[in-house]
Structure formats: structure tokens, C-alpha cells
């Protein structure tokens, strides 16, 4: 995360909670209200090049998992999606012998485009399929309180409403606060502290949300991003009023840790559980080799 050399506070997203940008100690981390959790996964293997163009065998999956008592319950077919398919440029489909053995996703590409561009198009489509699976599940979700890995773009309904969904973004590819003062406030959060909620600037494809930064863990020997997550809430007053409560839930979800996963500082255990679950659905390398003959 970088901050601008000059004060550019005017470009920072507006705060939607009263008061200045500051560190707010989260109260009430003694329980959690989350009942469901969601994540998606994908695994792709380049299996062959047809005339130099890429063909991928990819497995995409997503699941919403309910927690009953303290146990995660493997989802039934309604709450689990997976797909195994060959992803290839549409213009090579008819010429690829391997296409006979699998479902094929033919991607519309320009045959004259550079190979790297075609490859990126194919890989992007795999991610889009996984995203679609997540979206379908999120749209289907109709009861309980859901915590999803990532932003809430897929959770917004056609009519603009949300169910009770909270997103946790682990990566910080987008720097929302560029002013030095506010960026330092974010980076200076201590474990168990959050920022006031703000309304991030979003692209046209993204949904309007409220968000705040939360420090789940802190260690002096780690970077300033260690344990720092950005939480997304539906842009409704009800969620804003409960921001502290929801932050408390997330702090409570720090246990158990998802060690030995290297992202354990930000990866909450129920999300880790789903990752492991979805990984179990993916074909192993041996199985892929067997499928490919």
C-alpha cells in the first residue's frame, strides 16, 4: 500500500460512519452470528497445444457450507457446484482430438491475435466460470448469515437487494485510501481495531458496498499488511449500524487458525475448510493424467 506524496484526501472514499478516520477498538468479540460460509476454487492444467494455441483442462467449483453447532457440514448438491471441462479457443475445437472425451468450453478468440492474448482469454474464461458458480450460489442463498471470501459483487440481487452477506477481502490490490494520513491510519491499526466504514469507489461492474478495514492479527516482526482484511457489507443502514458487531464476529472467527496455510493471518478457518473441501473435489494430478490417457 502506498500513499500519495501530497494530501489528496479529497480523492479518498467518503466515510459513512460519523467521525474522523481513526482506529476503532472493536467491542464484543465474544461470539459470532455467521451461519454459512462461501468460497470458490479452480484448478487448471495445460494439457495440449493445438497449433500452438492453448487448451486447458479445468475444474471449477464453489460451495456454501452451513455450520451446525460448531461443525461444518458438507453441502448437499444444491449448495455445491463443480464443473470439469476443456477450455480452448473456438477456432481449434473441431481439430482437437482430445475434445471428444470432455465437455468443451469454446472461447471466442481472434485467430489472428497473439498466442499470449488467446491464452489470457482462455484463462480468464475459467475464472469467469468459477465466478459464475459463486454468483449462482450467492443468488440462491436465502437464509442465515453468510460470510463469503472476497467482495460482494456477486451477492447483489437483480432488484438491488442483499441477503445478510458479509465479504472478507484478503488482498489489497486496490488502495482505497491514498492520503497519507488515512493510509497510515489503516496501516497502523492494531489487532482488534477497525476503521470507520467507508463507501469504496467501485467500477461499473462492481456493486456499491460499505467497507471497513479490520486488523485480525498483528505481529511486530511482520509487515503492516499482516492480518489486515477489508470487510464489505451491503450498503444499507442496518449493516452500518451493526458494523462493530460484525467486526466482533470476524475477530471471534480467528480461532481456530488455518495454520499451516501461509495466509493464516487473514484466512478464516471456515473459509479454509471450504477450500480444503473444494480441493478434495478437484481431480488429482494422477487422475488428470488418467483422464487424458
Amino acid at each position: 500500500m502506498r500513499y500519495a506524496p501530497e494530501d489528496v484526501a479529497a480523492e479518498d472514499p467518503p466515510l459513512v460512519e460519523p467521525g474522523e478516520m481513526r482506529a476503532i477498538p472493536v467491542q464484543g468479540a465474544g461470539g459470532t452470528g455467521f451461519t454459512h460460509f462461501m468460497d470458490g476454487a479452480q484448478k487448471s492444467v495445460a494439457v495440449a497445444d493445438q497449433l500452438g494455441f492453448p487448451i486447458y483442462l479445468a475444474h471449477t467449483s464453489a460451495a456454501i457450507v452451513e455450520r451446525v453447532g460448531r461443525g461444518m457440514v458438507a453441502p448437499g448438491p444444491d449448495w455445491r457446484m463443480e464443473k470439469l471441462a476443456l477450455y480452448m479457443p473456438g477456432f481449434v475445437e473441431g481439430r482437437a482430438a482430445i475434445a471428444q472425451a470432455f465437455d468443451v468450453v469454446a472461447i471466442t478468440c481472434d485467430p489472428e491475435a497473439p498466442i499470449e492474448k488467446v491464452r489470457n482469454d482462455v484463462v480468464k474464461r475459467i475464472s469467469e466460470d468459477r465466478n459464475d458458480q459463486e454468483k449462482e450460489l450467492l443468488q440462491r442463498f436465502d437464509h442465515g448469515v453468510l460470510l463469503t471470501d472476497g467482495n460482494l459483487t456477486n451477492a447483489k440481487r437483480q432488484d438491488g437487494s442483499y441477503k445478510f452477506v458479509v465479504g472478507v477481502v484478503k488482498s489489497h490490490a486496490t488502495q482505497h485510501f491514498r492520503s497519507r494520513e488515512r493510509a497510515l491510519k489503516v496501516l497502523g491499526l492494531r489487532a482488534g481495531e477497525r476503521t470507520p466504514a467507508f463507501k469504496p469507489k467501485v467500477s461499473k461492474n462492481q456493486a456499491d458496498v460499505y467497507s471497513f478495514y479490520l486488523r485480525l492479527q498483528a505481529r511486530p516482526d511482520k509487515s503492516s499488511l499482516y492480518g489486515l482484511v477489508r470487510v464489505e457489507l451491503p450498503p444499507e443502514t442496518e449493516y452500518l449500524n451493526r458494523a462493530d458487531e460484525i467486526a466482533g464476529w470476524l475477530l471471534h472467527e480467528r480461532m481456530p487458525t488455518s495454520l499451516p496455510d501461509p495466509r493464516h493471518d487473514k484466512l478464516l478457518y471456515p473459509i479454509h475448510w471450504i477450500e480444503e473441501y473444494l480441493r478434495a473435489l478437484q481431480p488429482t494430478d494422477g487422475r488428470i493424467a488418467q483422464l487424458l490417457g
Binding site: 481456530p256 495454520l259 499451516p260 478457518y269
Partner: protein, 644 residues
């Protein structure tokens, strides 16, 4: 578990590190499944379009979660053990199973990765192959499974009683393993099978009551409550939970001169309709078991030679005494000692050539004389053998020899003599039944490993090796199997293991059990045993019920031993148990003089069957002559008419 439906519980796991083999496999199961060590499962898989079914028994259990290091869990909780995280770590229950059977039998390949089901009743019978022999040859040995649905398990008759294989050996900690209870249950099952199965061999059993009153009330109704679970086991095994029928009890005399029996099963109430009978050894028994009587180390070659000489010359035949002593045959121990004295006099006088050196003869004389005092209640006063082996065994009969009141050496004598006599009966095919089951407890003592070759050990080895061909089956029990002669144990085809101490389980003989099975054996509750049988590819845990007869402790409390009584009282009590008019018996006894040989009369009453005429015996042996009836003395003058 339902009778004939299977519940799917998990999947076989085969990893590169821990693959399935031809004889073992692993599977996971949901934590809530009621499965553990000893559970039987069925694996279903399709291999090359062919259905493959594998039956296995759980021999090890594992559980682990997604932790890589204990430190992770510590860090996870911040070192605070009181914290309850909102999500439980995922964990898995994994089991290792040993293959019991596969269908088809060939090829014997690795267990396929398939679906795992909890075994139904049909599955259990197929897995143990009891479905192939249960109807005709099955002897129920207990029930597999939980209390909600016990599944009977059967042993193959010909592999338990002979002649295909034979003998049973049971190991268990004294007081905890209920070895006696299990043997009684098995005997009950064997008798039921013998009675209800067409073509089944006739069976009788001989048991030694070595301590307390465990086996002295087998024909009495129990005072303890047989719980519905246990009644259900009886029911599933096809056995009526009723006391044993046709039980005979034998006990030695307290002293040969005293007709009182040396047993706690004593008294009109407990003996009603089934009095305890005496047993005693005759001269020939003593000669045959002299080694036991005097101790092996005390019987050197010279003494043994002299005994052999005496037996051949004076016991089995009529021999001529040295000098001008005439011909003599010894029928009692006293007569034999007289003969030895005569031989000794001859040797001391230097008349003729002595058979043995006088010192050897004196030694034998000394030992024989001591026997009369040391084993006074066991040695017959007239030299004749008395007891159950003097007649053939009846089918369905249970013979209990009570030696609980004897000292250790006397028990050895009884045991040794019975075993040798049974061995003789076996050789002569005079047992009277197709199969005689001899129950021997404390094999540690009678057939120890690493000890010298005693007469008893030799007989037990012979019975264990050849008995199954000749109708004699050994049910041996011990606390320490590792300390029993390997030949005796090894010749047993069937084995039962109750609660066993960890020290014993550490012996090499138990190495074929997995650690989990050993752990279970070390904590096995009373009423459960592990059964190893030739028809079972792996040992099976089964439950068995409490015996349907009066427990020893209850019997001793219910029938306390009466205070010592006079010989006259003993005779009267014994006679009342027999046939005859009680008033007449009382009348006869009241007329007997005090100097009548009451001890002799009591022995004769004991010797006679229960339905014998007591009056006749009293008249004959009590030497009671009933005087002619005297006319009542006239109290009035004849010429005085009282009614006038």
C-alpha cells in the same frame, strides 16, 4: 444394525503410503457411526464390471484432524485452553480392517476402493462362514454386535469337539474374565446342540470344582436376575436359560474312617433329590499315581522299580511271599504295607535275595504308610475305586468333582488320577458317550511350559494330541497362556480370550493381535470374549450371558454348611434321601447300638444309588436284627373282665 440390511458408513481409503493389501484395508467412517474394534464391515466394489465383496473386521482405529503440528493448535487458542472456538477443526475417524472373507475367493488381490457398510446378520454369517455349517454343525458361542441386535456366532462342532480338530483353550485374569461362566455357557450350548440337532454326537462333561462353590449349584435356579439383554442372547443362540439337568456331584471323604463328605455342598436342602456322592481311590489308582503322591523328585528309579514289582506281583495278581509266607494279594493299602514289611523282614534276615535294597524298601514303605494319613479322605478303605469313573458317562450328564476343600497336593492327586483314568477309558473306548468334555482349570499349574515332563503333563499332551480322535475333548483354562505348555495350547483348535493383564499381553504369543485388540483385551468387560476358531479368518469378539444357574457365592450363602453332625445324624440324613419308609428308617436307626459301624454304613449308603432301598442297606450293613415283636404285657388279671 438391522437383521439383514446394511447401513453405508464410509469408504475404503488406499493411499500410496498406506495402500490396501490382500488382507488389510483402511476406511473412513462418519464419527457418529457405532463402529469400533471388532466391528465387522462389508466392502462393495465393482472391478472390471464384476462385483467384488470383501468382509473385514476392524482391528485398529485412528482419528486425526487437519493440524500439522500441535503448535498450531496451541497458537490457535492463544495458549488458552478455556477458549471454545466457533468452529471445530475437521477431524476424521479412520479404521484398519483385516479381511475375513472375499467373494469371489479368487483372485486374492488387494481390497478394492469401495463403499463400506456395517455388516448385517447375513453379512456376519457369511464373513465368518457360519452360513455354510450353522444348521448342521453350529454350536453358538455368543453373540456379535450391540445389545440392540445381537447376532449369534457359531463354532463348527467338529472343530470344537473333534474329530476334525478339537479342544478349547481359554485365557483370562482370575476373577475378571469369567472363564468359568463362559465355559458353562458353552457347555449349555453344546448340550442344546446335542439334544436338538439330528445326528449330533452324545456329550457329557466332567468338571473339577477347585475353589469356592462355583460349580456346586449348576442344577439350582439362579437368584440373580438375568437381564433382558442376556435373555436375548440366550434366545438368539437357541438356548433355554435354565439350570443344567442331570448333574452329579462327587466329593472325597473328610476322613476314610468318617463317612462325612468333604464338601460345602452339604445339607438336606441343597442335596434334595441330588445328593453329593463320594469318590475315593483304590489301591491300583495309588500305584498308578504314586509319582504324584510322593513327588517326582522323591521317586527314584529304584523306588519306582520296587513299586512296579509290588504292583505286578501283589496288586494285579496273587504273589508268593518270600520264604514260607504263602500267597498274598493286596487289596488295600494296609495289606500292601504288610506285604512290604514281610519282604523287608526277609531281606533284613538275609533270607534269600531281596528284590531291592532294604533302604529302598523302607523308603517305599515309609511313603506308603504316610499316604494313609496324608490322603486319608481320598484312599478307599477297601481298596476299591469309588466315583464317577467307575461307570460310563451318560449322554447329557454333567459330573462335578469337588476338590475345593482339599489341600494342593490332594488336588494334584485327584486331578492326576482322574486324567489317567479318563485316558484309559478313552483308550478302551469306554467313555459311554461320543464326546466327553473334560474341563481343566489352572493349566498353568498342571501343564506348565518349561517345566519337567510330569505324569499329568504327559497325559494332557496325549489327550490334546489324540483325544479328539477318541471322543475326549479338553476345555483348558488358565490365567497365563504364555506359561502353559505350547503343545497343549497349540493342539487346541479354538481359543477364547477374556480380560488379560497387560504384562501377559506383552508376551510374544500375543504378537499377532494389533495394539488396539490388545488394548481392548486389557480392558475387556466381563461377559465378552475374543474367539479364535479355525473357520474364522480373524478372531471375533462375542458377548455371552451370565450362567442360568445359582452362582457359587449365592449358593454358599443360601445353603450354609451345617454344623458338624454325629455319624448317626449323617446316616439318618443320607438314608432319608433314598428310597424307603422314613418312619421305618428312623425306627431301624433308633434301634442300632452306638457301637454299630456307622461309618461303614454311611459309606455303603453313599455308595448306593439314590433310588436304592435304604431300609435294606441298613438292615444288611447296620447289622440290625429286628427282634420278634413282643406281646404286650398284660396289665390286668386274665380273670378280671375290665368291661364288666
Amino acid at each position: 444394525m438391522q437383521a439383514n440390511t446394511s447401513q453405508e458408513i464410509g469408504r475404503v481409503i488406499g493411499t500410496e503410503r498406506k495402500p490396501s493389501t490382500a488382507y488389510t484395508f483402511q476406511f473412513w467412517a462418519r464419527p457418529r457411526e457405532r463402529i469400533g474394534i471388532g466391528s465387522i464391515v462389508r466392502v462393495e466394489a465393482v472391478v472390471d464390471d464384476a462385483q467384488v465383496t470383501v468382509y473385514g473386521i476392524v482391528v485398529e482405529a485412528f482419528a486425526f484432524n487437519d493440524l500439522e503440528s500441535p503448535l498450531h493448535e496451541f497458537l490457535s487458542m492463544g495458549g488458552d485452553a478455556t477458549i471454545t472456538p466457533p468452529t471445530m477443526r475437521e477431524d476424521i475417524r479412520m479404521f484398519q480392517a483385516a479381511v475375513l472373507r472375499r467373494e469371489p475367493e479368487e483372485p486374492v488381490g488387494a481390497v478394492p476402493i469401495g463403499r463400506v457398510y456395517l455388516a448385517s446378520e447375513d453379512d456376519v454369517q457369511k464373513a465368518l462362514r457360519t452360513n455354510e455349517f450353522r444348521q448342521q454343525f453350529g454350536i453358538a458361542c455368543g453373540c456379535y454386535g450391540g445389545k440392540d441386535n445381537p447376532v449369534p456366532v457359531h463354532l463348527h462342532r467338529d472343530f470344537l469337539l473333534g474329530s476334525e480338530a478339537g479342544h478349547l483353550n481359554i485365557t483370562g485374569t482370575s476373577g475378571l474374565a469369567a472363564k468359568t461362566s463362559y465355559i458353562l455357557f458353552l457347555l449349555k450350548s453344546i448340550f442344546t446342540h446335542s439334544k436338538t440337532t439330528p445326528g449330533a454326537p452324545t456329550v457329557a462333561t466332567l468338571l473339577f470344582n477347585t475353589k469356592g462353590g462355583d460349580l456346586l449349584y449348576l442344577d439350582k435356579e439362579p437368584e440373580h436376575v438375568i437381564s433382558p439383554d442376556q435373555v436375548e442372547i440366550y434366545h438368539r443362540c437357541g438356548i433355554e436359560p435354565t439350570p443344567f439337568e442331570n448333574v452329579e456331584y462327587y466329593a472325597p471323604y473328610k476322613h476314610v474312617a468318617n463317612g462325612e463328605l468333604n464338601t460345602v455342598r452339604f445339607g438336606a436342602e441343597v442335596e434334595e433329590g441330588n445328593p453329593t456322592r463320594p469318590f475315593a481311590f483304590g489301591l491300583q489308582d495309588i500305584m498308578d499315581n504314586f509319582e504324584v503322591l510322593v513327588g517326582r523328585e522323591d521317586l527314584d528309579a529304584k523306588a519306582a522299580g520296587f513299586l512296579g514289582y509290588l504292583k505286578d506281583k501283589y496288586v494285579l495278581a496273587q504273589g508268593k511271599l518270600p520264604g514260607s509266607g504263602g500267597e498274598r494279594q493286596a487289596k488295600t493299602l494296609g495289606e500292601l504295607t504288610d506285604i512290604i514289611k514281610a519282604e523287608l523282614r526277609q531281606a533284613d534276615n538275609g533270607e534269600g535275595k531281596g528284590v531291592q535294597h532294604p533302604l529302598t524298601m523302607r523308603k517305599v514303605l515309609n511313603r506308603l504308610t504316610n499316604l494313609q494319613h496324608r490322603y486319608s479322605g481320598l484312599i478307599s478303605h477297601d481298596g476299591k475305586t469309588l466315583g464317577p469313573l467307575s461307570k460310563r458317562f451318560e449322554p447329557g450328564s454333567v459330573v462335578v468333582v469337588d476338590v475345593s476343600q482339599l489341600h494342593s497336593d490332594a488336588k494334584d492327586l485327584v486331578f492326576s488320577a482322574f486324567i489317567s483314568q479318563i485316558q484309559d477309558l478313552m483308550e478302551d473306548r469306554k467313555l459311554g458317550v461320543d464326546r466327553l468334555i473334560v474341563v481343566v482349570d489352572e493349566l498353568n499349574k498342571y501343564a506348565p511350559s518349561g517345566g519337567g515332563e510330569t505324569y499329568v503333563l504327559s497325559a494332557l499332551k496325549d489327550i490334546s494330541a489324540r483325544g479328539r480322535y477318541m471322543g475326549l475333548t479338553l476345555f483348558g483354562a488358565q490365567q497365563f497362556r504364555s506359561r502353559v505348555d505350547k503343545e497343549v495350547v497349540g493342539n487346541s483348535a479354538s481359543h477364547a480370550f477374556g480380560h488379560i493383564e497387560a504384562e501377559e499381553l506383552a508376551q510374544p504369543g500375543y504378537s499377532y493381535f494389533t495394539p488396539a485388540v490388545k488394548e481392548k483385551l486389557a480392558t475387556l468387560p466381563t461377559g465378552e470374549v475374543l474367539i479364535k476358531h479355525p473357520h474364522f479368518a480373524q478372531p471375533i469378539f462375542v458377548r455371552f450371558p451370565i450362567p442360568p444357574c445359582l452362582r457359587g457365592s449365592d449358593g454358599l450363602r443360601k445353603y450354609p454348611r451345617a454344623a458338624d453332625r454325629s455319624l448317626r445324624e449323617l446316616v439318618a440324613e443320607r438314608a432319608r434321601q433314598m428310597r424307603g419308609n422314613p418312619n421305618e428308617i428312623a425306627d431301624l436307626l433308633s434301634k442300632m447300638a452306638e457301637d454299630n459301624d456307622m461309618a461303614n454304613l454311611l459309606r455303603e449308603l453313599h455308595r448306593a444309588p439314590v433310588d436304592a432301598d435304604a431300609v435294606a442297606i441298613i438292615r444288611q450293613y447296620g447289622k440290625v436284627s429286628v427282634a420278634p415283636r413282643k406281646e404286650p404285657r398284660a396289665v390286668l388279671d386274665d380273670d378280671v373282665d375290665p368291661f364288666a
